[in-house]
């Protein structure tokens, strides 16, 4: 099998030397990548798993405690709050964000002038640092900020969005949706433009309405892209941290404490064992989602 890809010409000229030369070249070329992956990916993954089963402060030696950290975490109010907040963040954000992006891609996909301009405008927040985005929304959402002023212009009451425990998380979610909107729009738009026009022409001849076309042509054709956007979005959302750090610092009353925030907090309290357990809970959630994703994909392929 290996030889089949090498034209016989080469094999005849340098039967063994060529092959060995290529083996060596292969190993030399991947060596830096493997070394870095080993030291900065594989070793940390294993260490993190081991430490999650120990009591460890970073000083001295880790002390084996079995599953104690996990058991304690699932009885710990702060962790449970962080878990719940993270799920809410993912659910609300992913419930709303991609739908908005899809609708805006549909709008942009109709015959529109200046499409490039709109696309660029939507994309600006995507390539901006989350710290910048969060800082800007923090000023917009202040008690005397522009958003409250706009609300009062329409006769609606203002609100201390970020200091009220019931609105702080939705405010952080809204900021994140705003940041991801351009990405979703651009990815959906690219996929929309790949759908053959003839499909729509045929449907129109058959008298299908616009929404019937969306439902029976666009959505099925976009399935892989929709999956992609949700997978990327869900994985990213589970790791939410920067916005929280800047906008609310996990507060008020832990109402925006997320899993990664919880992890970093425990890490800084030198509870390395528990922090590692939080990391592995996060890993377990994402591994489960990846498994579901692969499972769904495989089943769809038949």
């Amino acid at each position: 099998m290996r030889a089949s890809a090498i034209p016989t010409k080469t094999v005849r000229r340098r039967p063994l030397k060529g092959r060995w030369r290529r083996y060596v070249a292969g190993y030399v070329l991947i060596a830096p990548a493997l070394l870095a992956a080993g030291l900065f990916l594989f070793v940390p993954i294993v260490l993190s798993g081991y430490w999650s089963l120990t009591e460890y402060s970073g000083l001295g030696e880790p002390e084996w405690v079995g599953l104690t950290n996990y058991i304690e975490l699932f009885g710990n109010d702060l962790f449970l709050k962080a878990l719940l907040n993270t799920f809410l963040f993912v659910l609300i954000g992913m419930g709303i964000g991609p739908v908005l992006g899809f609708l805006s891609a549909l709008l942009l996909n109709s015959t529109v002038r200046f499409r490039g301009f709109f696309r660029a405008a939507y994309f600006v927040p995507v390539m901006t640092s989350l710290v910048v985005v969060a800082t800007i929304w923090k000023i917009l959402l202040q008690q005397q900020g522009v958003i409250n002023q706009a609300l009062s212009f329409f006769g609606l009451p203002g609100h201390a969005w970020l200091s009220d425990p019931s609105t702080a998380l939705p405010a952080v979610v809204a900021t994140s949706i705003w940041q991801g909107f351009g990405f979703e729009t651009v990815v959906f738009l690219a996929a929309l433009q790949g759908i053959p026009r003839e499909l729509y022409d045929a449907a129109r001849v058959d008298g299908a309405s616009y929404w019937q076309q969306v439902r029976h042509i666009t959505l099925p054709a976009m399935r892989p892209t929709i999956m992609f956007v949700y997978i990327i979005g869900i994985i990213g959302s589970f790791q939410v941290y920067d916005q929280v750090f800047v906008m609310t610092e996990g507060g008020p009353i832990n109402s925006t404490r997320t899993l990664v925030f919880d992890l970093v907090d425990r890490f800084q309290q030198l509870e390395l064992g528990e922090a590692s357990a939080v990391a592995y809970v996060l890993l377990a959630i994402l591994a489960f989602l990846s498994y579901v994703q692969i499972f769904v994909f495989e089943r769809e392929r038949g």
């Binding site: 290996r2 080469t10 060529g18 030369r21 083996y23 292969g26 190993y27 070329l29 991947i30 990548a33 493997l34 992956a37 900065f40 990916l41 594989f42 940390p44 260490l47 993190s48 430490w51 805006s104 709008l107 942009l108 109709s110 301009f117 709109f118 660029a120 405008a121 994309f123 600006v124 927040p125 390539m127 901006t128 640092s129 710290v131 910048v132 800082t135 800007i136 000023i139 917009l140 005397q144 900020g145 002023q149 705003w178 909107f181 990405f183 651009v186 996929a191 892989p224 892209t225 992609f228 990327i232 790791q239 941290y241 920067d242 800047v246 990664v260 992890l263 970093v264 990391a279 591994a287």
Partner: protein, 283 residues
Amino acid sequence: MTATGGRRVRRTLLYAALIGTSLLMIGPFYWALSTSFKPSADIFASPPKWIPDPWTLENYRDVFTLLPFPRYFLNSVIVTSAIVGLNIVFDTAAAYAFAKLRFPGRDVLFFLLLITLMVPFQVNLIPLYRIMVRLHDISPLLGVGTYSAMIMPSMIQVFGIFLMRQFMRSIPDEILESARVDGASEFKILWKVVIPLAAPGIATLAIFTFLGAWNDFLWPLLVTNSDETRTLPVGLALLARRNTVNWGQTMAGTTFLAGPMILMFLILQRRFIEGLTAGSLKG
């Protein structure tokens, strides 16, 4: 008549929606820019002042004396260029080997790398931090508090290798074979034949690595402990988190951070969009 009338209404609504959304996307940035030039009394003025009047540069002057933003900028440039440079070299080299060379264990090793794509960075965070502490004990030039702590964990990206490998696979084997027949070494083939052909892929790799490194926050926040090595996002976040936030200064810092990036984006728009949506293209 009614048909074209209805059409006109629909077009108007369409453009109203598109323009409205654009304002929603650009407006906040404009507000940051505008606020950065306002004296503090005007920042939360009611009704809001869209154009600073009077305008002032004191927010910039103050924030630059308060925090060494040029230093943060330099740090960001150093760390980001190192990461981009290393990734271009190592990701491309590995991708070429995984895509075009045959050697025992190739597919197993590649599969092992791919699995790590599922592992979020935060899982590695604590051990990585300990590794950087150890490195610092060994040599004060390495590890926590130095550039190396930020650069080393990002010196390769599995996703970058994956992406470049996809790209390399589109290069026909015949071209490589004829170079081999001519007696070129594998490294020469990579340098003279593959890299020129893979240039667009390398550009994409460079841009998404650049954006990732430039905007990275949590890790640089943890492994820097002084202004000597802090990067721009870390500096800005510390400013935005002060107990009594000075909004004029904070928005000056924000503008300093976002401004150059937005300008660069406007110039290299298409490349940026390709770079950031790279994963979806292969669908």
